[in-house]
Symmetry: D2
Subunit: 135 residues, 4 copies
Amino acid sequence: MTTQNRFVAETRVQVRYAETDAMGIVHHASYIVYFEEGRSNYIRQRGRSYADFEREGYYLAVTEVNARYVQAAVYDQILRVRCWVEQMRSRGLTFAYEILDDKDRLMVRGYSKHVCLDKAGKVAVIPEAWRLWDK
Amino acid sequence: MTTQNRFVAETRVQVRYAETDAMGIVHHASYIVYFEEGRSNYIRQRGRSYADFEREGYYLAVTEVNARYVQAAVYDQILRVRCWVEQMRSRGLTFAYEILDDKDRLMVRGYSKHVCLDKAGKVAVIPEAWRLWDK
Amino acid sequence: MTTQNRFVAETRVQVRYAETDAMGIVHHASYIVYFEEGRSNYIRQRGRSYADFEREGYYLAVTEVNARYVQAAVYDQILRVRCWVEQMRSRGLTFAYEILDDKDRLMVRGYSKHVCLDKAGKVAVIPEAWRLWDK
Amino acid sequence: MTTQNRFVAETRVQVRYAETDAMGIVHHASYIVYFEEGRSNYIRQRGRSYADFEREGYYLAVTEVNARYVQAAVYDQILRVRCWVEQMRSRGLTFAYEILDDKDRLMVRGYSKHVCLDKAGKVAVIPEAWRLWDK
């Protein structure tokens, strides 16, 4: 994965107590939510909110998610979620993520694949106005 | 709170790792979800699913929730959620809860208040067929 | 509840998609986590982190939580969690909360009661340095 | 992935309202918790609890998780989580998962990779008694 020439959105996340587990660290499923937070912010930084996307009658359904855990984060830690579009197709796209701590150490990296659905749940072409994300 | 002459639904819940926190115990917000699990099961045991309630065009919105924490539960522990209707009114109701461990020790007790809404979000009378819960 | 002459911490929270439910609104248990976020930030704004409190050998266990839901929030909405200390005692304290939207409308209010525990799980006096919160 | 000659644990999960999102379906991160539930039950069915594993001084840290979403589940739906050990090594292992609905339709499949850590956080050999899982 490269971020060369890609728009990268950076989102600050501070670990909540509810996101930790009995191992004393952030539960692995919490990072999937951090990815989503990074993705939401990416879309916002490109000029619109994903809420607008839904208001226009579309959904971005998740078809795959992958996370590789390198370092464990703990309560109160400040993380930086980097998110960019790895691949854009007419009916779907792939977001990539890196989560770093405040010393730029990689904590988690991963990707999520999405397909565009209309209100009826059918696969649809992503509206033109929303496809500039791969620039 | 009394359960005298009330229908009480009992629901078995086994603590998930994701529901614990760095204190090594079940996070306090997880019990609110256990309450909901007990409530869902209560409705099912009365003959219908809350999913049917929504399909008929209604919602039971939560207007208040209260939980008192007596003993902490840990990962893998088997809990018993007791749920009953404490008060039934035409437009809303109150559920009460007790969460016990496998030795019948009280872990958490609480209640939740709900109001019936129609699809437009307006307060509505709970349909007759759904109001037998207070028996 | 009054915030007169009290230190009030304000925390910005933006609703995550994972925090919503099939009703299209924020799930009621998510606000309990927002309360915690407000409480964490309150402690930080008073000069220390709750993580330090734990490092010193203490826990603030939750003994009760209460939330009253006034207005429903939705995905992407920006909320403001106001948190203050309602009552401070030697072995425990009560935090109060108000969650407002960006037009200052009250969405949720509530409180949480806590008791100070030492590493052995015994009720303990809150260390002096941590008791200035009620000013 | 094949389950041929493998011990497969089956776990019943009923979708909780809190696990759905504003799309009206189960949030994608919830399945990661269902995987964990299936894994917990797998370990239990092999004769011990993961809680015992931790009591003996070890952790199974997650190093990677992957989920492919085929069909969306909804509130109240009963799911069957199939879990088995895909690969067992001396210091780690891979669990595989299939989540099916009550008509045996595949909803989600995936895997999680784990490494064994001791209390000090160092990579450790999985104790002999816990390595029979690959049979």
